[in-house]
Subunit: 214 residues, 2 copies
């Protein structure tokens, strides 16, 4: 398994979870260069809303997957990233609502997060799923996880996440045979990385454009 993150601090934390079959390397998702059809599974957690060119990255991921291989990713939900600037709940009547605005304007959004200003890329749902299909992948699942009543009983502070979905999770697979009408782009294997030790890739937090260190 190959795990990548552009943050040296994240990789330092990961060093506490060393495992002989896991290789960590410092790289952003966009800077990775891997051999064609070298991976069975690509997992990305809350990272792709930091990536400027989503369509190109998904096509490259599709090229890295072996036929039948899978990709699963989570992103901040388009409902949450739409309004520019991004804000939280707003007052409406005697309560609050989640504000949606600027939905069709797929540009960057600045957000203050953990004391710093981060830049996210708002994309329509149709763009996220359309990029999967345009890469020749088959959509296999979609989820908008929300806490259930039991979870809210334990953690009342989670209740707002039933009022608007915080996350979107998408899974897809590369067809066993590449469909003739949508050939999968292959990256050409001019990679900075040799073939990973194993056959899965996770992006822990590729939110910057630092270059790979390996």
């Amino acid at each position: 398994m190959l795990c990548t993150d552009p943050s040296a601090r994240m990789l330092a934390l990961a060093a506490g979870y060393a495992h002989p079959r896991v290789r960590y390397c410092r790289a952003s998702a966009e800077s990775l260069s891997l051999a064609p059809e070298c991976l069975d599974l690509v997992v990305s957690s809350l990272a792709l809303h930091y990536v400027a060119d989503y369509g190109t990255l998904i096509r490259r991921v599709a090229g890295w997957l072996r036929p039948g291989g899978h990709v699963v990713y989570s992103v901040e939900h388009p409902i949450c990233t739409a309004r520019d600037p991004m804000t939280g709940w707003v007052a409406a009547g005697e309560g609050t609502v989640w504000p949606v605005d600027d939905y069709a304007r797929e540009t960057t959004r600045a957000q203050r997060w953990l004391g710093t200003l981060v830049t996210k890329h708002h994309r329509k749902l149709a763009t996220l799923i359309g990029g999967i299909l345009a890469a020749g992948l088959v959509l296999t699942g979609i989820d908008e996880p929300c806490p259930d009543e039991q979870a809210i009983a334990r953690r009342p502070d989670l209740a707002d996440h039933r009022r608007r979905p915080p996350l979107l999770i998408i899974s897809a697979r590369r067809p066993e045979r590449a469909p003739a009408e949508a050939p999968v782009t292959r990256s050409g294997g001019q990679g900075a990385f040799k073939r990973p030790h194993s056959d899965a890739l996770t992006w822990l937090h590729p939110d910057s454009r630092e270059v790979p260190d390996g």
Copy 2:
């Protein structure tokens, strides 16, 4: 082509567009009973948010489609149907925002529309697309149509539809061979209708539960 609508008034309007290859009949989407694998294309326009049991209907549609056949439908966007009760834009600061709330509560929503109260069914995006996948269909497209700048120049009143998506359009196809892991349910052909004159079906406005008239 078979066109169905539960409204006698809509069918009276349709009579003005008679065509030898088009057959109109009065029926709701849910009450239709058709032979297995009799259709190449099913089209539904802004109707499925009136249907109580979406998952069952999509499985029945999948059974009516010939292998390789397509379904395309539009619904009111979940962003628009979420808040209970459904409302329009709300004031926020010096402007307005589109209010989202109650997103995970997939129940009915009452809405005043053209002077009457209509009942819609709010569903999460994950439920809409998940129903497609659960029926053994392959997602082929998704769109959230919004007016472009040229359209807004001609029709400034359309500008708000760039701020939040009014519609969701989904297309899918039945695989050429039914996948072994998700057999398509077949309705059994005990139909009130004979095989339609042609091989496409449209639902004009199936928003009630009236029974077919023949």
